[in-house]
Subunit: 455 residues, 2 copies
């Protein structure tokens, strides 16, 4: 029986108090989602949520906008206030760092400012997130070198930015967080340089899209150095020197951002987010994830995924059997006046996974050109040459071009294993200010089919 409402199945608690004692470790997306979902399906559960810092349910994805000054107050970044969470009957334990799980005794131990505390559980959900990689660069310890990870890191950096002499920043890594930071710091009118080890910025999209991003960055006054590894950061007089293998930049402020994590170190979980340890679930950046187009689990730490996995873990921790449907790697990022989104596979990963990918690119206005304000969308569509199966897409375009929600149409189609050609069957919305009779997504599908090599 499919679960369709909050009361459509009852929870078996089985402990001697007649209620489930649920302990959740981690107070970010996955942990909070688990807590809220558990409360929704089990009004009686005792829910204790332990987090290491003082910032439950904060939007980590919003940190660049706090640093840009677009968000004024740190509190505004909270998805929900502490009061909202507690009003749902979830007990928050701030500054509780869990260091021991005794899975046999069903107990966790946390260090706090006033000593150690123990919590017993019937069910445990681990949502501790991930630690960013420290890249092998000498000098990361210098004052002025920042790594952007938790809310506290952002506050330290914000403090640095308001220092009157901060006028130049070097960002190491041109992944999406690094580029969001470039956008943010330009808005604060700092001189910004981005250094990327790989040949093009934004390695999560094809170089053709990466070039658009680079032009947008350069047009916005960001200095871009690709194929350039940072080897050493040194303090020199009153500033920092960033040494690369190509040249040396003066810098007052080095930001460490955008580093990708490998699958190593992530917890393995099944589709129900079970760790295999009885009574222990895990979710979010600390776990592997199932990808709907790949045979093997992968590692893709994203807030959307953390929410879904957390919700699944929370429901199951109080008796449910929900399955996490898996990801497609759907992402969107704003970089100055450009929106860049992607979902599914690109040629390289598709090839490695047994597909025979072909990618075609189409540049098309987001809506009928005759209506004012049209912006170009660059759409790259990837399909399998053998059976026409849709494998993925990348879209870059102006902020008004509904890029984010157009990639969602493709993500929904990928979810259902559509062929490229079947995109043309979808009844998508149109009027001249918003689209064309064939939505750009469908125009790209037709371009892909039309470019098919003769058999």
């Amino acid at each position: 029986v499919r679960f369709i409402g909050k009361n459509l199945w009852s929870v078996s608690t089985g402990d001697r108090h007649g209620m489930t004692r649920l302990v959740i470790v981690g107070g970010s997306d996955a942990g909070i989602s688990a807590a809220l979902r558990a409360r929704e399906v089990d009004p009686a559960a005792q829910i204790d949520l332990l987090l290491t810092d003082r910032w439950p349910d904060y939007s980590i994805c919003g940190l660049p906008y706090l640093l840009s000054g677009e968000v004024r107050r740190t509190e505004d970044l909270a998805h929900r206030t502490r009061e909202d969470i507690e009003a749902a009957g979830i007990t928050l334990h701030l500054e509780h760092r869990v260091d021991t799980i005794d899975a046999r005794a069903h107990r966790v131990r946390a260090r706090t400012a006033i000593g150690e505390r123990e919590f017993s559980y019937d069910a445990l959900v681990i949502g501790t997130g991930a630690m960013p990689q420290r890249p092998p660069i000498d000098g990361l310890h210098h004052d002025g070198v920042h790594q952007l990870h938790a809310v506290g890191d952002a506050l330290e950096l914000a403090d640095r930015l308001t220092h009157p002499s901060a006028h130049r920043a070097v960002i190491v890594g041109a992944g999406y967080i690094g580029l969001e930071m470039a956008d943010a710091l330009r808005l604060r009118e700092l001189d910004v340089a981005v250094v990327e080890r790989l040949p093009e910025v934004m390695p999560t999209v094809d170089p053709q899209i990466g070039q658009l991003v680079r032009r947008t960055l350069e047009g916005g006054g960001v200095e871009v150095l690709t194929a350039t590894a940072v080897s050493r950061i040194a303090r020199d007089g009153n500033g920092l020197q960033v040494h690369t293998d190509l040249r040396t930049l003066d810098a007052e402020l080095g930001l460490q951002a955008g580093a990708r994590l490998g699958a190593a170190g992530a917890l393995a979980v099944d589709e129900q987010m079970r760790t295999g340890v009885p009574g222990v679930w895990a979710a979010g950046d600390c776990v592997h994830t199932h990808h709907r187009l790949l045979a093997e689990p992968t590692y893709l730490p994203l807030g959307t995924t953390a929410h879904k996995q957390g919700r699944t873990a929370g429901e199951n921790a109080v008796g449910g059997s929900r399955r996490f449907a898996g990801v497609l790697g759907t992402q969107v990022v704003k970089i100055l006046d450009l929106a860049v989104a992607a979902t599914g596979l690109r040629d390289d990963s598709a090839l490695r996974n047994g597909y025979r990918p072909r990618t075609e690119q189409l540049v098309v206005p987001d809506h009928k050109r005759y209506y004012p304000g049209a912006v170009d969308l660059t759409i790259r569509l990837t399909g399998d040459e053998r059976d026409g199966r849709l494998l993925g897409a990348q879209i870059a375009g102006g902020l008004s071009g509904q890029v984010a929600k157009r990639i969602d149409t493709i993500a929904t189609a990928l979810h259902h294993r559509l062929t490229v050609d079947e995109l043309n069957d979808l009844d998508l919305s149109y009027s001249p200010p918003f689209s064309a009779p064939w939505d750009p997504v469908q125009a790209a599908a037709q371009a892909w089919s039309a470019a098919a090599p003769a058999p």
Copy 2:
């Protein structure tokens, strides 16, 4: 074998010249789509396209923006130029009004300025569109009363609008075209009144959304009269008088727009757009359409549908066997600073078709509130209470809220018969300027599930 490329199957022509002679009647969305698709899959076919006016492949949906002045030149409304179409090897015959089809002899006869002409065919596609209903109102013949249908109508009206004394317009009918016209004429700074027979504007959405639209109209200076039927239009001195059953309005300009057509008079076709007459296909506003959520064919004349049906007919007319996948009634309309979109069924039609619908409404920002520029989205989600199946949605919100492409995510989900709860499984894109970790569409799904009555 699925069709995935232009050359993956060959066409059997079977006539004595070795090529298919395809005649298409109608030069708007359906007819042109059929012609272009036929050319794409059969490079050898002889394609003759006959149209009554001089405007092949014009975006009828763009007429309001021509009248508003946002589009400067009529030519800009062409999806493709006449030269583009002819360069594809399609022979255009302007001002050819077909009045006879001899299906036995495979011949059509057209009236032209210089007499009658006959065309033989192997395959015939009919895409003649529909005639708007003339409502039972006395005085529609008066000068100053306009009906908006073809390009020529719009040009006549445009001519009227540039007349120096035109400063007041009454629009009869508050359907989406009527409301687009209200928007357009306000932009020209005319005084505008909209008269609607039904209790609320925009009868294609629920009154809760209709009220939002009405407030937007009134906020923009449009006078709105609902539950008001127009009975008579009279000429009085130098203006027109519009008589309604509630009160009389002075008006210089009456616009007839937004009237809906019943299913009566539409041609019946199967999924391959065959009429049942050998060698004759039909598509666009002149035919019935299959709705994926309804057991019986319905009538829903929209440009998107005409393109898809035309493409299907064109492919099949030169030997294919493509099936039109059916519609969901997906629509979007811009009304001043509001975007309103809908897809699928509402309670009334769902009930009539054997579903047990329940609709919930959620108001939610389009993206994280902390990032500047968030606009409210009002989302009404309809599902079946018995099995949780998604049935439809309506979204209204600010123009920057990606309303059009959010309805497309739901349309794609409807296409695949998802449950409301399964919307939560979709890997949709997020970053704070564009969405939330649970996209508003998913937040609405969760609100729908949470409001489920206790079993």
